[in-house]
C-alpha cells in the first residue's frame, strides 16, 4: 500500500517561490546579468514562475528574456542503467550565458547527480561568471559534493520514500493530459 502525504500545497509552493525570487535578487545585488535555466521537466515551469516573480519585483526585467531550458539527458551518468530517455530541447535566452550569472532551477535535489550533469552541460554551452542552484525541495541523501544556494523547503526523507512534485504546467490530478491541473508536493511511502 502506498501512503501519500501532501507536504506543500499550491499556496505553500507560491510563497516558497516568492521568497526564492527575492533571495536570488538579493544574492545578485539586483537583476543585472541574471539568467534562469530550468531543468526539464519540472524545473522549467518553476524557472518561468521565478522569472515572472523577479520581473514583478524589478520592473526593468523582461521575464521572457532571462529564462531558458537546459536539458541534461545526454550528460547523465546513469544512461546505461535506466530506460532510454528521449532528450528535451535546450533553449538559451538570446543573450547567451557567457559572463552571466546563471541560476539552475530544478524541482527536487536528491543525489545531486542531475546537477553534476547540468554543470557539464553548461560548460559545453558557454562560460557563465557564476552558477548558482535553486530548488523547490531539498530531500537530502546527497551522493556528490553539491548543495543548493536557494531552497524552497528542506524535507528530511527516507530513501525508500518518493517525493513527487506536481505542477499545473506539467501535471493533472489523474495524470491525463487534459485533466484538472494541480500544484502540490507529496511524499509517497510504501507501508
Amino acid at each position: 500500500m502506498v501512503l501519500t502525504r501532501v507536504v506543500l500545497n499550491q499556496a505553500d509552493i507560491d510563497r516558497a517561490l516568492t521568497r526564492i525570487a527575492h533571495e536570488i535578487l538579493e544574492a545578485n545585488k539586483g537583476s543585472q546579468d541574471l539568467v534562469l535555466l530550468g531543468i526539464p521537466r519540472r524545473g522549467y515551469p518553476l524557472a518561468v514562475r521565478l522569472a515572472a516573480k523577479i520581473a514583478a519585483a524589478d520592473p526593468t526585467v523582461d521575464a521572457a528574456a532571462i529564462v531558458g531550458q537546459l536539458d541534461v539527458t545526454m550528460f547523465r551518468d546513469d544512461l546505461s542503467h535506466q530506460p532510454t530517455r528521449p532528450p528535451y530541447p535546450t533553449q538559451l535566452p538570446r543573450t547567451g550565458i557567457d559572463n552571466k550569472v546563471v541560476v539552475l532551477i530544478d524541482d527536487v535535489l536528491y543525489s545531486g547527480r542531475t546537477i553534476r550533469a547540468a554543470l557539464d552541460a553548461i560548460i559545453d554551452l558557454g562560460r557563465p561568471r557564476i552558477v548558482r542552484l535553486a530548488v523547490l525541495i531539498d530531500r537530502g541523501h546527497r551522493e556528490l559534493p553539491i548543495r543548493a544556494d536557494h531552497v524552497g523547503k528542506n524535507l528530511p526523507t527516507s530513501s525508500s520514500e518518493k517525493v513527487r512534485v506536481r505542477l499545473e504546467e506539467t501535471d493533472s490530478v489523474d495524470g491525463a493530459p487534459d485533466g484538472v491541473r494541480i500544484n502540490e508536493v507529496v511524499i509517497e511511502a510504501t507501508a
Partner: protein, 350 residues
C-alpha cells in the same frame, strides 16, 4: 527498440521518437562544442561491404558527436577479400567488444541475419542491404519533409507526422532500397506516396505496395506534389538494358529545367526537390534543379547526421544495453532492481 533493420516494421511511435530525438540532436551541430558525452566508452563498428561515402561518413560523424569510439571496416583490403564469411567477421567484431554494428551489405537481409543469430550481441543498424532497405536514409528524408511540412503549417515539428503530404518518388525504383524504405515509412507517417518510373524499373509486386504508381512524371506533377524525390540511376546494378538511351531517360523521367519551370507555372511554389545522393547531374536531375532553392540535397546530408545520432543514442543507451564486454548476470540485475536508491522513474529524476 534493439535493432534498426527496416522501416517496414517500424511503429509510428518509434518513428516519431527517432524524428523527435533527431530534432534535439540537430541543435548540437549548431553549438560551440559539437559533442555530447552520451555514448562515452561505447564502440560503434562501421561494417561496409559496399562502397559508400556519405552514409559511412555520416555514421562516423554521428558516433563521434556522441563520443563513441568508431572502427571503420571496409571489405576491400580486409580478410573478406581472402574469403572470410559474414559469421566469422561478426564473431571477430563481437570478440573485440563492439556495442553497435552499422552494416552495409550487397546481400538483402544480411543485417537481419546478424540480428537474428547469436554471432554477435550488439545493436545492428542497417545502412543499406542489397535492394531491400535503407532505413536511416528514409528517416532523414522524412525528417527533412517534416521540417518543411511543419514550417508551411506554422506548427512545431516535434511530435508531428506527415498527414496529407503528397510525395512523388521518381526513377530507378527497381534497384532502390531508398524507395522501399521511404514507401513503408511515409505510409506509417501518413503521407501519400506516388512512385513514378518506367515499367522496366519497377519491381514485381509493386501493385501490392501501399502507394500509387504512375508512368508519367508530367502528369504526376500536374496533379500536385509537395515533395519530389529523384532516385539515382544505379548503373552499377544494371546487368541489362532497362531504357534505350540516357538521353531518353533524362527527357522522360529526369527532373530537367523544363520541369523545374513547370513547378512555377503549376503554382507549386512550396514543392521541394529531394535526392538521396550521389547525383548523376544531367541524368535524373538537372544541375539547375539540384542547385535551386527548392533543392534539399544538402539539408538531407546535414539531417542525416542528426538522424543517425538519434538512432545510435536510442539503441545504445538504456538499461537493456549493457556494454557487450561485460554482460550483467541475472542476479546482479535483480539486486540492482531491488535497490530503491537506483530505481527512480523518469518523472522523478533528481
Amino acid at each position: 527498440m534493439r535493432h534498426l533493420l527496416s522501416t517496414e516494421d517500424l511503429s509510428l511511435h518509434n518513428a516519431i521518437r527517432i524524428l523527435d530525438t533527431a530534432e534535439e540532436m540537430a541543435a548540437v551541430g549548431e553549438r560551440e562544442v559539437k559533442k555530447l558525452p552520451a555514448l562515452r566508452g561505447r564502440t560503434v563498428v562501421n561494417l561496409f561491404f559496399e562502397d559508400s561515402t556519405r552514409t559511412r561518413i555520416s555514421f562516423e560523424a554521428a558516433a563521434k558527436r556522441l563520443s563513441a569510439d568508431v572502427i571503420n571496416f571496409a571489405a576491400k583490403g580486409s580478410s573478406v577479400s581472402k574469403g572470410e564469411s559474414l559469421k566469422d567477421t561478426a564473431q571477430t567484431l563481437a570478440a573485440m567488444g563492439a556495442d553497435a554494428v552499422v552494416i552495409r551489405h550487397w546481400a538483402s537481409g544480411a543485417p537481419h541475419r546478424l540480428a537474428a543469430t547469436d554471432w554477435i550481441d550488439a545493436a545492428i543498424i542497417n545502412a543499406g542491404d542489397g535492394t531491400h532497405e535503407h532505413p536511416t536514409q528514409a528517416l532523414l528524408d522524412a525528417f527533412t519533409m517534416r521540417r518543411h511540412w511543419s514550417k508551411l503549417a506554422g506548427t512545431p515539428s516535434a511530435g508531428a507526422d506527415l498527414k496529407g503530404m503528397r510525395v512523388a518518388i521518381a526513377g530507378d525504383v527497381l534497384h532502390s532500397r531508398v524507395a522501399r524504405s521511404n514507401v513503408w515509412l511515409l505510409r506509417t507517417l501518413g503521407a501519400e506516396v506516388t512512385l513514378v518510373a518506367p515499367p522496366t524499373l519497377l519491381p514485381i509486386g509493386v501493385d501490392k505496395w501501399p502507394c500509387a504508381v504512375s508512368f508519367d512524371l508530367d502528369e504526376t506533377l500536374a496533379q500536385g506534389v509537395d515533395a519530389m524525390m529523384m532516385l539515382r540511376v544505379q548503373g552499377e546494378r544494371m546487368n541489362a538494358s532497362f531504357f534505350p538511351t540516357t538521353r531518353e531517360y533524362s527527357r522522360r523521367w529526369g527532373f530537367d529545367d523544363n520541369r523545374l519551370r513547370a513547378l512555377d507555372s503549376l503554382g507549386l511554389k512550396d514543392t521541394i526537390i529531394m535526392h538521396p545522393g550521389p547525383m548523376n547531374r544531367g541524368l535524373e536531375i538537372s544541375a539547375a534543379a539540384a542547385d535551386s532553392p527548392r533543392s534539399t540535397v544538402l539539408a538531407q546530408v546535414r539531417n542525416g547526421v542528426s538522424i543517425r545520432m538519434a538512432a545510435l543514442y536510442l539503441l545504445l543507451s538504456g538499461e537493456n544495453r549493457e556494454p557487450a564486454a561485460a554482460p550483467v548476470s541475472a542476479s546482479a540485475a535483480a539486486s540492482h532492481a531491488a535497490n530503491p536508491n537506483l530505481t527512480y522513474s523518469h518523472q522523478e529524476s533528481h
